[in-house]
Amino acid sequence: MTARREPHQYEQILGLPLDGTAGDAGVDRLRLLASAIGGRTLEVADGGAGEPAWTDGATVFVDAGSTPTEQVRMVGVQASLLAAGSLEPHVVRRLGRRSALARRYLSVEGHRALAANEELLPAVVRALIDPAVGTTAEGAEDSLAIARGGQALDAPPAAFGTIRPRRLLAALDRAEPRGPAPGEAPRPAAGAARTDLDDLASLDDAEEDDDERSVGHLLSSPVGGGGLLGRLLRRLVSPTRERGRGGPAGADAPTHVGRARSDGRRGGVPARGAPEALDATDLFAPQGRTYPEWDANRRRYRADWCTVHERDPRPGDLAPMAMPDGRALRRPLARLGTGLSRTRRRPQGDDIDIDAAVEARVEALAGSPPDEAVYLESLRLRRDLAVLVLLDVSGSAAEPGPSGWTVHEHQRWAAAALTTALHDLGDRVALYAFNSQGRRAVHITRVKRFDDRLDGRVVRRLGGLVPAAYTRLGAAIRHGATVLEEQGGTSRRLLLVLSDGFAYDHGYEGPYGEGDARRALAEVRRRGTGCLCLSVGAGTDPAALRRVFGTAAHATVPTPEQLPGLIGPLMHAALQSAEAQRRVYQRKERTRVRVALDRRMS
């Protein structure tokens, strides 16, 4: 108990490997400490041997090779700087590229920030404070003025690390265009931490940021944003490129273009030539499953047309996110299919079950031991519902919606809230994300399987999802329904699709894709699984949604906050219709079997 525990020892104690990237597990353990001191969700990552500590506002980078005490100090300082407002953009901008000024600023402001945060600091961090310096400045502006003045200042202690103004501002730029988070605490920009992790090797505030930002600006420019040009551009720069437009089999082999980092890690998928692509994909995920696809033009199925690969997120594709608590959704969802039923002959209850009481009395008078269970009890009907949430993470979801949040962020928030709420209510719930790069590469990412616990792992998997590539909606729906039917384990099932309704892939465009998605939903519903399709924050035209989702229950929800008001009736409708469809299907099946039997008999 007295010895300091290394991470592997926690793993032994907990009997579970610590989540997160293996290399960072050492400093990653300080995540909660950083978040507590910083008053915001922060990550801690290895900044490289011998490098001073710094932060980009979302992640604190410390040298994993330094002593644990040093690491705590460095995290304490950087988190305090964030908590005390020392790294606000208006201040950081004025530091510019002058590293000497940044150093002088840090030597004053570091002490001020620590002093301001003193109540919260552990003793080892508190020991760093020089009260003489800490009280000279009233605020960050003051510290900056002192730093700009000519007076001699001591160099900041090593534990103060450094400030990297350009990296901070770059991270802020990515974070700023977003509107206020719906019901969510401030959190790091989706791509911030990971971009910086990618090129830790080049730690100086170098030029790559400029390239990256210029691409980003191009895509989010008023012309490009959500319009035709924007989609075109996005498609041009997204990891796959179209070949043989609209053509059938074989024409959809993905060719990877070396894409810059704003699409996250997707660029890291090995480039593959066209003919070998199918094999390479199969090697990558050998447990692919094939599904048919509906050819609306020829009005028949193409057997085994799509291959779906289920996979876990790569260890690097994990990022924290603030989880909505789902409490607002709990009440409307709790009403689904639950009611009180009066149960007779209970050993306890609100009222006396007269029949049982009379019988018990008769038995007693007849000399046999009476049954004591003579009460009526109102019992809650146990819910018998499995829900599989299917989240669209195709590139089209990366476009910002009307509120400034991307569709993906809205949908992810909704997925998180729904999963949490249903889980809390005791339903079986799973969460999968999907996108595709042609018919042989429909990817389903497991975020939470039915039997997984809803814990930090799930949160980090969800937070790490980066929208990319295309949407082969039909195959994803068929696979989701299969998983739901095989693993749901309940008689009532619901498939919840969160998508912008933009069905698009190689050879999967316009009416063809819409027809297949519609068909897939119809198949699923006919088997008695309810389907509910929600488009959250995408502003998709209702007519377009109807073309994709057909008669399945669907709705477009402008913002996630409106979800609690709508979700109850929608899910109710979806389940009701599935129930009715199942009865019709069963009747038809029975008729078919009977007709077949009759024929054989005659």
């Binding site: 108990m1 353990r29 400490l33 605490a185 996110m321 607002a328 814990d455 930090g456």
Partner: protein, 265 residues
């Protein structure tokens, strides 16, 4: 119930005066505040001050009206009516404290409506009687605003008859005093745990449903008073109850090790 020493409660604001005034005016009270911030202890202390018996009911989502009001039981060939805790409080003029009232089923909370407003009556359908509350009866309900955004299950008319007292975790100096007293540890020891608690409370989205309450800090302190090493006590009483998530647990354990010096330091 009212004999003995006053339960230890340190007021943070004017909550004691508000409670007393509402009690004298025969008004009902609603206490808001996070789990473990001292709502129950506050009511116990007030019941002692006002010299009323206290009837506490912890509400849960399977609590039925009969659980509150009472039911018939069969004994031999006879039926016998047994009062529920609420009926008992109404008859005796006790303070009836319904903890986490919104957790109770909707059809259950209906029964407190006529009691909470000016009528101060409890209708008992099964007996066919309407009981008038005895003098000194006071209805106190509590709820955790973290769980429920509003008291939506109580009728507006009822809510408006209630007086609200908002409680939260006490400021550090008061909390140190409370932990030191309740756990029986030195003030410096209590201060360390309070600082840890303050830090944990700043974690907004770390995957914790509840933050470290005064209650868990006291629990940790009591383990220390029993001779357990500080860090072991904090792990058992703070990290363990707060989360089952291995990643979050590891983070909390790290915070415990950083904030709590080992040994006698």
């Amino acid at each position: 119930m009212t004999t003995g020493a006053r339960p230890y409660y340190v007021p943070v604001g004017d909550e004691e005066q508000v409670f007393t005034a509402a009690f004298r005016q025969e008004m009902s009270l609603v206490l808001k505040g996070p789990t473990g911030c001292g709502k129950t202890r506050f009511v116990e202390a007030m019941a002692h001050d006002l010299d009323r018996p206290l009837v506490t009911v912890s509400c849960h989502d399977d609590l039925t009206t009969a659980d509150l009001v009472g039911r018939f039981l069969l004994q031999g060939g006879e039926t016998r009516w047994v009062d529920g805790p609420l009926t008992r409080a109404v008859r005796e003029g006790a303070i009836c404290y319904l903890d986490e009232v919104v957790e109770a089923r909707q059809d259950t909370t209906v029964v407190i409506h006529p009691l909470a407003d000016h009528r101060r009556q409890l209708p008992i359908d099964r007996l066919g009687v309407v009981l008038d509350a005895a003098p000194g009866f006071c209805l106190v309900v509590s709820y955790n605003p973290g769980y429920q955004s509003v008291l939506k299950d109580l009728k507006d008319s009822t809510r408006q008859r209630m007086v609200a007292i908002e409680l939260s975790f006490p400021p550090p100096d008061v909390e140190e005093k409370i932990v030191a007293h309740e756990a029986g540890v030195e003030p410096e020891e209590a201060a360390r745990f309070v600082q840890l608690g303050q830090a944990i409370r700043r974690l907004e989205s770390a995957g914790l449903r509840e933050v470290a309450s005064t209650r868990v800090l006291i629990a940790a302190g009591r383990l220390v008073a029993e001779g357990l090493p500080r860090r072991a006590a904090a792990r058992a009483a703070i990290a363990g109850p707060l989360t089952d998530d291995p990643v979050v647990t590891a983070g909390l354990v790290e915070m415990i090790d950083v904030y709590l010096p080992d040994g006698d330091g």
